[in-house]
């Protein structure tokens, strides 16, 4: 969803950090994207190349570290792995899951020159 606007936000973060650190060019961008973040990775890669064109990150490599979904079950109290937001608890079948990992959408690191 909205991968282009995410990349525009990403670009403004990159520009901000680049200005503060005297960076001329960005060679690679490392993102952390959770499995439950609602981001289509292919669309994100496509949008990334388009949005970064003619900027200091033009041609930068995009590295995506995916974070698996994890939730704490309100029923049995266990921390469980989930693949989708509305999956029931695989242990007790409970529906009251609080997501503890997997909705990340973060700029983790930049490789710059």
């Amino acid at each position: 969803m909205h991968e282009v606007s995410l990349c525009r936000g990403l670009l403004s973060l990159i520009e901000e950090h680049a200005a503060a650190q005297g960076v001329a060019r960005v060679k690679s961008v490392v993102l952390e994207v959770g499995a439950l973040a609602g981001v289509e990775l292919e669309a994100l890669r496509f949008a990334f190349d388009v949005v970064m064109k003619d900027t200091l990150a033009d041609g930068a490599a995009l590295e995506i570290n995916t974070v698996p979904g994890q939730a704490q079950c309100g029923g049995c109290g266990q921390t469980v792995a989930i693949e989708r937001r509305f999956d029931p608890c695989p242990l007790c079948g409970g529906q009251l899951l609080d997501i503890v990992a997997g909705d990340e959408l973060r700029l983790y690191e930049l490789e710059v020159v």
Partner: protein, 249 residues
């Protein structure tokens, strides 16, 4: 030996000088660790503070196009404008038609056109607030761009996200667009006057929605025929009072 061109570095001179060799640029890694939505979230927090200080209940209304958001809004305003001050932010890609429709009901409305954008963000809303007469005990309806996907991720600073689903859509929409139904606090199931003409399983739809979000409240209503509106107005009244009290505390 020069690794760029293979010359023995001392052997070849140009105009008496050694030729220039590119020095490989030293790259370094910057640890950033910032949320991609951090900027939006910071603007949203600013809006939220503003609403709290002014005692305004702000609601973010979201749905697919054609669910009857604007009709529901126009009807709600007509019924409630003598009880509460109401203001409206309208989000659409193009045209000021919705804001004009709302202004015709006699309340202040600002139109945001997002152009190619598929959702409102907190920064746009912050600017729109400057043009609205916000007051304690009032309600601000923010009608988001018709889209069940993107607006879910963008906090505007609202007290509650309200998703509107009409019975002319599929009952499995909550499963198809789980992020939206997960993010919402209230689902308004609209156009229930049309149920006799449709194959729409209300109970199944609500079950799907609660599968995605067990805490979701649901009100069934018809913006045109009036069924269920009293329950919606009661839901609003409780929250308007709560928002206006927080400013006195």
């Amino acid at each position: 030996m020069c690794s760029d061109c293979g010359c023995g570095t001392d052997e070849i001179t140009i105009d008496g000088r050694l030729h220039a060799h590119a020095v490989p640029e030293a790259s370094r890694r910057l640890r950033v660790e910032v949320d991609l939505l951090a900027k939006n979230n910071a603007y949203a927090a600013r809006n939220r503070t503003r609403f709290a200080e002014q005692g305004v209940l702000a609601l973010n209304l979201m749905s697919s196009p054609g669910s009857g958001k604007t009709s529901l809004l126009a009807r709600s305003i007509a019924d409630l404008k003598n009880q509460y001050p109401i203001t409206v932010i309208e989000g659409d890609q193009q045209t000021a038609r919705d804001a004009e429709r709302i202004r015709a009901t006699g309340v202040a409305a600002v139109q945001i056109n997002t152009g190619k954008g598929c959702h409102l963000d907190a920064h746009m809303v912050g600017h729109a607030l400057d043009d609205l007469p916000l007051s304690a005990g009032s309600v601000l309806f923010i009608e988001n761009v018709g889209n069940l996907v993107c607006p879910a991720a963008f906090d505007l600073g609202e007290a509650h996200k309200v998703v509107i689903l009409s019975v002319t859509e599929g009952e499995d929409k909550p499963l198809k667009y789980p992020d939206m139904f997960h993010a919402a606090d209230l689902m308004l199931l609209n156009k229930i006057d049309l149920l006799p003409y449709l194959q729409f399983d209300v109970e199944q739809c609500i079950a799907y929605a609660r599968q995605v979000n067990p805490r979701l409240e649901v009100i069934q209503l018809s913006a045109t025929q009036g069924a269920g509106l009293a329950q919606w107005y009661q839901w609003l009244a409780q929250r308007i009072v709560h928002a206006s009290h927080s400013v006195e505390a």
